[in-house]
Amino acid sequence: MVESITTIITTLGFPSVDAFIGALFLVLAVVAVIVVISTIKPVLDMFPYTYPNARVRARSGRLFTDKEFSEIVEADNIEEVKNYLRGVPDYAKYIDQYPLEKALDAQLAESYDLVARITPDNSKEVFKFLLKKWDIRNIKSIIIAKQAGLNLDETLNLLVPFGTLTDKLDTLVEAETVTEVLNGLEGTEYPKILEDAIPLYNETGLLLPLESAMDNYLLENLLRSSATPEDDNTLLLHNYVGTMVDVANIKIILRAKADNLKYDDIEFYMISDGYQIREWKLKELMEAEDVAGVVSGLEGTSYAPMLSDAMTEYSETRSMSSFEMALDSHVFKNGKTISLKNQFGIGPMIGFLNKKEKEIRNLKIIARSKREEGYSTAMIKEMLI
């Protein structure tokens, strides 16, 4: 056998068995390196997501099922809803501490905070920026409270105890007027964001320019920070954020056109660029004659089919809620689709936040319905997203 192997090696052109073995090792070493690198690379890409994904999947498992939602909807009054939530550890810690709506928002903010803390570095910037949502929400609540003349306790009940401005909130709530609140923001990034909106507020006394400037700042920067796709994960994140931006823009234009507003009236409130709907298309939509013109202008985008259906309902009722529900539902469906696309990457985190937003929104709908008279169980179920 040894002779036959030696003959084969010699016929292959190797001067000796040792030379053949040396060449064989070289080839094996190269093959081994190629195999190891090509198999390890994709595995290492998914490695940073394994820990955060397990955590968010644990939280996803604690979200309410349809059956549990039915039980909450069937509660006789708001106290029963609160009692139900007291039995759920994620909500229990906030329910007795805050009014119900604030408790729900605090739980949602905690979920965003968790994801921002545990997400891997390449998506951290976007999720960290997303936490400004709570700063903006708190500033908006304070200026609305000051405008409405709410007292200190009523104002505090509107604030969510999350975000980066928590230390400053105590000073802001003690302000007497909206202008004092705005002055109190010195030293933060917000005075610069509001520099165009403040003169408009001073001129009209309306809070809308201030609110819009802050909302746009959040969405524009989220879109920008997720716009440099390094890999599949950031690409999906950009899609998720981009859809939120597009939906925000479409809602503004539809509402404006329903009120017969023109291009110049709307421009200030728009986010300058979008995801599917880019700047030139936004201009075209803003110049549309009416709501039907906006809907037909969106032909060819993924928003067209659901808006066409909502248009039929709008023609009958003249209510914007058909568009708003269709667009909100689209955002949730898009989030769900994205969450299923990259199960070993960012998918579960987007899926979790998406489902959590939906859960909180549905709980708020139930809470509102239980506070007011005349909502049957069937009606509440109809209103849920």
């Binding site: 056998m1 040894v2 192997i5 068995v17 040792d18 073995i21 064989l24 090792f25 094996l28 081994a32 195999v35 190891v36 198999t39 390890i40 595995v43 998914m46 490695f47 394994t50 820990y51 955060p52 994904n53 397990a54 955590r55 999947r57 644990a58 939280r59 996803s60 498992g61 545990i118 199960q343 070993f344 579960p348």
Partner: protein, 160 residues
């Protein structure tokens, strides 16, 4: 000084590939499974035992590689006792080591990914435990193929 012939030296390389590659796959797989399990335990401390089971599963590939490496070392004469191997037998030993090593590399990483997902699925829905174990165990088959071929090579290649 112990004189090591070429055949025995080749068997030693085979042993190195067996335990090295299998250990690499097993280590990466176990790291992925452990990261997922730690995440699950952070949210639900009752997941500790189940997380440990999922983390332990990708260990088997390293055990297969270790066993083949020990057999190679014992029967190649490098640890004394047995007679030295011929060059041909040494090449067979490299084949055996590569079989269990590379099979263990792929199997270990695959099993780690599945184990991590299964830990996530179980913490989301505890009823997923048995199904998670079954899915995770499927990746074991490639390592078993490699291990069986390595044993057959050792037996019929004249080493054992």
């Amino acid at each position: 000084m112990v004189v090591v012939v070429l055949g025995t030296a080749l068997a030693a390389i085979g042993a190195g590939i067996a335990v090295g590659m299998a250990g690499l796959g097993s280590g990466i797989g176990q790291g992925i499974a452990a990261a997922g399990s730690v995440g699950a335990v952070a949210e639900d401390p009752d997941m500790f035992a189940r997380g440990l089971i999922f983390t332990a599963l990708p260990e088997t590939q390293a055990i297969y590689g270790f066993l083949i490496a020990i057999l190679l070392l014992v029967f190649s004469g490098i640890m004394g006792g047995a007679s030295s191997l011929t060059t041909t037998a040494g090449l067979v030993a490299i084949g055996a080591g590569s079989a269990v090593g590379f099979a263990g590399l792929g199997s270990g990483m695959g099993q780690g990914i599945t184990a991590s997902s299964a830990a996530g699925a179980v913490v989301e829905d505890p009823d997923m435990f048995a199904r998670g174990i079954i899915f995770t165990a499927i990746s074991e088959t490639q390592a078993i193929y490699g291990f069986l071929i390595a044993i057959l090579l050792l037996v019929f290649g004249g080493i054992l």
